[in-house]
C-alpha cells in the first residue's frame, strides 16, 4: 500500500515573519528524499508544518497513508502521529531525565500505538541492541550517537509509514554522522518507510537519498531528480556548497 507526502504551494511563518514561500515538495512511496539547505532556510519550519505544529498561511499538505489520502492542514499533531507520520526532531530532543525505556514508551503514547507496545519495544531493542543494555539509564547521560539512535527508535515506536528526520547530523562527530545515515537507510529498508530528511551535510545526505530539494531562503531553489543532478548542478555548487 502506497505511502506518500505532497506539499503544494505552502506559505508559512511566525507572526509577520514569512519563512516558507510557495514551497512544493513531494515524497513518493518508499523514497528517501533529502531536503538540503543551511541553517535558517526553513527546513525545520517545513517539518513543523507537516507535523501540524505550525499552521501554514496557505497551501496544501496531503499525505497518502496505506493508500488513503489525508489532508494534514488543520489537524493536530496527535492526529498526524496517529495517521502514521513520525518526526525525529532536530537536536534529538529526548527526555533527558527519563530513562531510555520511558523515552521509547513516550514514542508510543497514542492509543493506536499502545496496543502493540510490547512488540514494538522488542523490535526497537532488536534494531538497537545498545538501547536494551541501557534500558534503565537516563537518556541524557548517553553519548550523542546513542542519543540519536534513541531518537530514531522513539519515532519508530508509533509504527510510522512516513518518517521525517530533521538534521540527524547535528552535534555528532563525523564518524557518527556517517553511521547514523547508514542506520537510517537500514531502517528505511527494514520497515519499508517513506523518508523525508532535512540535512545540511550535503555529501552524507546524498549518499542515501533517491533525490533531493535545495531550499534557500524559504523557497525551493533547485530540485534534483536524482543524486547525479544534485552533485553536478552549478547552482548547488555555487550557492550551497560554495565550490
Amino acid at each position: 500500500m502506497a505511502n506518500s507526502l505532497a506539499l503544494t504551494g505552502v506559505n508559512a511563518g511566525y507572526g509577520r515573519v514569512r519563512v516558507l514561500e510557495n514551497v512544493s515538495v513531494s515524497v513518493a512511496h518508499a523514497e528517501t528524499v533529502a531536503l538540503l539547505g543551511t541553517n535558517g532556510n526553513g527546513k525545520s519550519t517545513l517539518m513543523k508544518c507537516i507535523m501540524g505544529m505550525l499552521r501554514p498561511a496557505s497551501g496544501s499538505i496531503v499525505a497518502e497513508i496505506d493508500g488513503a489520502r489525508h489532508d494534514l492542514v488543520g489537524r493536530t499533531t496527535e492526529e498526524i502521529v496517529d495517521l502514521g507520520i513520525a518526526l525525529v526532531p532536530e537536536g534529538r530532543r529526548l527526555f533527558p531525565k527519563l530513562t531510555v525505556e520511558e523515552n521509547l514508551l513516550l514514542g508510543a503514547f497514542r492509543r493506536s500505538a499502545r496496543a502493540l507496545i510490547t512488540r514494538n519495544l522488542d523490535s526497537a531493542y532488536a534494531t538497537f541492541p545498545v538501547l536494551r543494555e541501557r534500558r534503565r539509564q537516563l537518556a541524557g547521560s548517553m553519548s550523542g550517537g546513542e542519543q540519536q539512535m534513541l531518537a530514531l527508535a522513539r519515532a519508530l515506536m508509533s509504527e510510522p509509514r512516513i518518517l521525517l528526520i530533521d538534521e540527524p547530523s547535528v552535534g555528532l562527530a563525523p564518524i557518527l554522522v556517517s553511521r547514523t545515515i547508514d542506520k537510517i537507510k537500514e531502517l528505511k529498508e527494514r520497515f519499508e518507510l517513506t523518508v523525508l530528511m532535512a540535512e545540511q551535510n550535503f555529501n552524507q545526505a546524498v549518499r542515501i537519498a533517491d533525490r533531493g530539494y535545495v531550499i534557500v531562503h524559504g523557497h525551493i531553489a533547485f530540485e534534483g531528480h536524482n543524486t547525479d543532478e544534485l552533485n553536478n548542478n552549478e547552482l548547488v555548487r555555487k550557492f550551497y556548497l560554495g565550490l
Partner: protein, 316 residues
Amino acid sequence: MRNSVFWLLAALSGVAFLAVTRALIANEYYYFAAYVVLQYIVLSTGWNILGGYTGYTNFGTGAFFALGAYASVVLHKTVSVPLPVMMLVGGIISGVIGLGTGYLTLRLRGVFFAIATLAMAIVMQTLIVNWDFVGGSRGVYIIRPASAPIAGSYIQYLYTLMLVLAVISVGIARTIERSRLGLGFAAIRDDEQAAEAGGVPTLRLKLISTTLSGALMGMAGAPLPYYVTYLDPDSSFSLAYAVNAVAMPVVGGMTSWIGPVVGSILLGTIQQLATVTISSALNLLIVGLLLIGFVIIAPNGIVGLVLSWRRRARAR
C-alpha cells in the same frame, strides 16, 4: 508494588494512625495542630501533581484553597449539607478554576506561568473581597454545629476528614506517578515541545494536571471555615499557603509522592512547634531558610538525598 496494594496499605495505615491517635490523645490542641499538618499534606501533594510531575510552578495555592473554603461558606449560608459534600463541592469549584487557569495560561511556561498564577490569586481575592454575601473584606463568622456526626468532638471530626483526604490525595499522586498519565506529565516537564512532536497530547494532559491539582487544594480548603470559625480574605488567601505548598515538595523531593508527605510533616510540625514556643510570625522565616538551604544543598529534596546515599552505599 501494585496500585491496589498501595491503596490498601495507605488506607490501613490511615485507619491505624487514626485509631492510635484517638486512643492515646485526649488534649484537643494536638488535633488542631495535626489538622494543619494533614492539610499541608493535601496542599503540597496537590501542588506537586502540577509543580513536581508536570513542571509548572503554581504560586496560586492560596486561591484554590480559599475558594474551597468560600464554597463551603456559600453552602453553609444557603443549603445545609454535610461537610464531606462541601469538600466535594469545594473540590469541583477549585478544579474548574484550575481548568480555567490551565486553559488561559496554556502558552505560558516557567516564570511566566508562575506570575500568571499569582495574578489569578489576586483577582480571585479581589472578587471575594467585593462579594458581600460571603462577608466581603469584613470576613464571615461560621458557627460550628454543636456536635459532630461521628464519635468525638468536632475538631476530632475535622481531623478525621482531613486524614481521609490526605490518604486519598497521596493515593492519587502515587497512582498517577506509575501510570501513563504520569509518564506524559514527566515528558511535559522534560521537554514539552518534543512531547508534542511525538504525539503526546500536551494540552489535554496539562489541563488534567491543573484541574486535579486545583481540586485537591479546594478540597483541603473546604473544612477551613469550620476550623477557624471566622474566615476573612486576607488570612484565607494568604501567601503563606502558596509558599508552603512550594517549599514542602521542594524540601521533601518533587519527583515522588513521598516527597511532599515528608516535607509537609517536617515543615508543618516545625511551624506548629514554633508557633507555640517562639511566635507565629517566625513561621515563614523558618520555611524560607529551609527552602534556601535545600535548594542549595539538596535540590532533589530529602528523597533525593536518601536515594543518592543508598546508591552510594550499594556502589561500595
